[in-house]
């Protein structure tokens, strides 16, 4: 059986350029950003999938 449940985006920690706060951007939020045409072109560090986005 072929697994297709791949994670297209991995959770990332960023300094939110709008609020200036450090926060986690979940894979779902990155997917949402893509749908809205928001280019994720700022520095980030990878985090564990358990760390959640506030969105």
């Amino acid at each position: 059986m072929l697994l297709l449940d791949m994670e297209l985006f991995t959770p990332k920690k960023i300094i939110d350029p709008i609020t200036g706060k450090e926060r986690i951007v979940s894979s779902e939020e990155q997917e949402l950003m893509l749908e809205k045409g928001i280019l994720f072109d700022i520095p980030f560090t990878e985090v564990t999938p358990e760390e959640k986005s506030p969105l």
Binding site: L8, P17, I18, G37, I38, D41
Partner: protein, 357 residues
């Protein structure tokens, strides 16, 4: 027809109302065979990738998959499989593009025979060209009509995250809500012609009837008063159509930008304001500031019309969800299958109590 409200409030049919149910466990795995079947059921073009490639070639563009910071974007096939596996919509494929000079764009690509999806792309192209002055939205670069094994493609400017992004309700500032209220007022004042000549007060009365006994008895007379107060505002109104937090990007300067203009644009006064106000509930300061800004004129006087409109809008949002539960769960005897529905009905009534009292 009260069905108008279901379409206006939740996008299409009962999609949003159904979405309020407890989520079923997502399938953690699926076979390629299952995915292929799902692709067929969703009407996804078997040659979606080829169509994408051909359209890009025509336009001398290519997909941007990897950014300098290491962020990666999916291929069309990866994205479709991911969306199917997670039981999410596949109305269009979102992607970043670049031209020979390295200039980047955003596109939404038609990937299926779904007529609503194509209509959404066309609507967005038309609306981005004709949005009233004073409304912040992405600039339209090009709309490519579907033809000769080429899919429709909407190309707009992209928005770098450092300029504006989706932020949680908690991070909305008073400047952001003030700017959102300002833009919603501009939209509501923009002339909107209507072929259907809607009667929203009659629609609301039918909606209340459809919600049946799910509406608290003590709220009924208040709801009828709200409907009567709304009568002078009951006319076709230019709206964004889905003014939730996910479609309003905030920037550092305290201004906001509306994205996703795929809805037709004709709605009712108070619709956008109610949707945004509901989304801001996790931030009491911002939601109160929004209410103040939306319902007051620049000279500080209350605009009774807008005050009645936002109350009406919030009430309609909740009545739509109550009617759905009444007609599809209560009246069909399926309450035992949906044990959380009774609690949801109480919460929906509570939300109406908050806005009506």
């Amino acid at each position: 027809m009260s069905e108008n409200f279901e379409k206006l409030i939740i996008g299409s049919d009962y999609e949003g109302a159904e979405g309020m149910f407890e989520q079923s466990e997502e399938s953690s795995e699926s076979t390629s065979e299952e995915t292929q079947k799902a692709r067929q059921e969703r009407g996804i073009f078997p040659d979606a990738q080829e169509r994408f490639n051909a359209t890009l070639e025509d336009l001398e563009l290519q997909q941007e998959r990897i950014l300098e910071n290491g962020a990666k974007y999916p291929s069309l096939d990866q994205w479709i499989d991911h969306r199917i596996t997670h039981e999410r919509g596949t109305k269009f494929f979102p992607a970043f593009l670049k031209n020979k000079d390295g200039e980047k764009f955003f596109c939404k690509l038609q990937i299926s025979e779904n007529p609503q999806a194509l209509e959404g792309l066309k609507n967005e192209a038309e609306r981005l060209q004709a949005t009233p002055d004073g409304i912040n939205r992405p600039k339209l670069v090009k709309y490519v009509e579907p033809k000769n094994n080429r899919s429709a493609m909407l190309i707009t400017e992209l928005i770098p995250i450092r300029e504006a992004t989706v932020i949680p309700a908690e991070d909305w500032s008073e400047q952001h809500v003030a700017d959102a209220a300002r833009q919603i007022k501009i939209m509501e004042n923009y002339p909107q012609e209507s072929k259907e000549n809607p009667n929203f007060t009659a629609d609301a009365t039918r909606l209340l009837e459809g919600a049946g006994d799910t509406v608290l008895e003590e709220l009924r007379s208040k709801i009828k008063t709200v409907i009567a107060n709304y009568a002078p505002e009951s006319r076709a109104t230019y709206v964004h159509g889905d003014a939730g937090l996910k479609n309003i990007l905030a920037d550092k300067d305290g201004t906001v930008h509306f994205v996703d203009w795929e809805f037709k644009g004709e709605g009712f006064k108070g619709q956008d304001a109610a949707k945004l106000w509901s989304g801001l509930q996790k931030n009491p300061v911002a939601s109160r500031a929004f209410l103040e800004e939306y319902t007051h004129d620049p000279d500080g006087t209350i605009d009774e019309g807008r005050k009645n409109a936002i109350i009406f809008g919030v009430m309609i949002e909740n009545l739509v969800h109550l009617k759905w539960r009444n007609e599809n769960i209560i009246q069909t005897g399926k309450l035992a299958e949906h044990p959380n529905v009774q609690q949801q009905i109480e919460e929906l009534n509570l939300r109406m109590v908050e806005i009506l009292t």
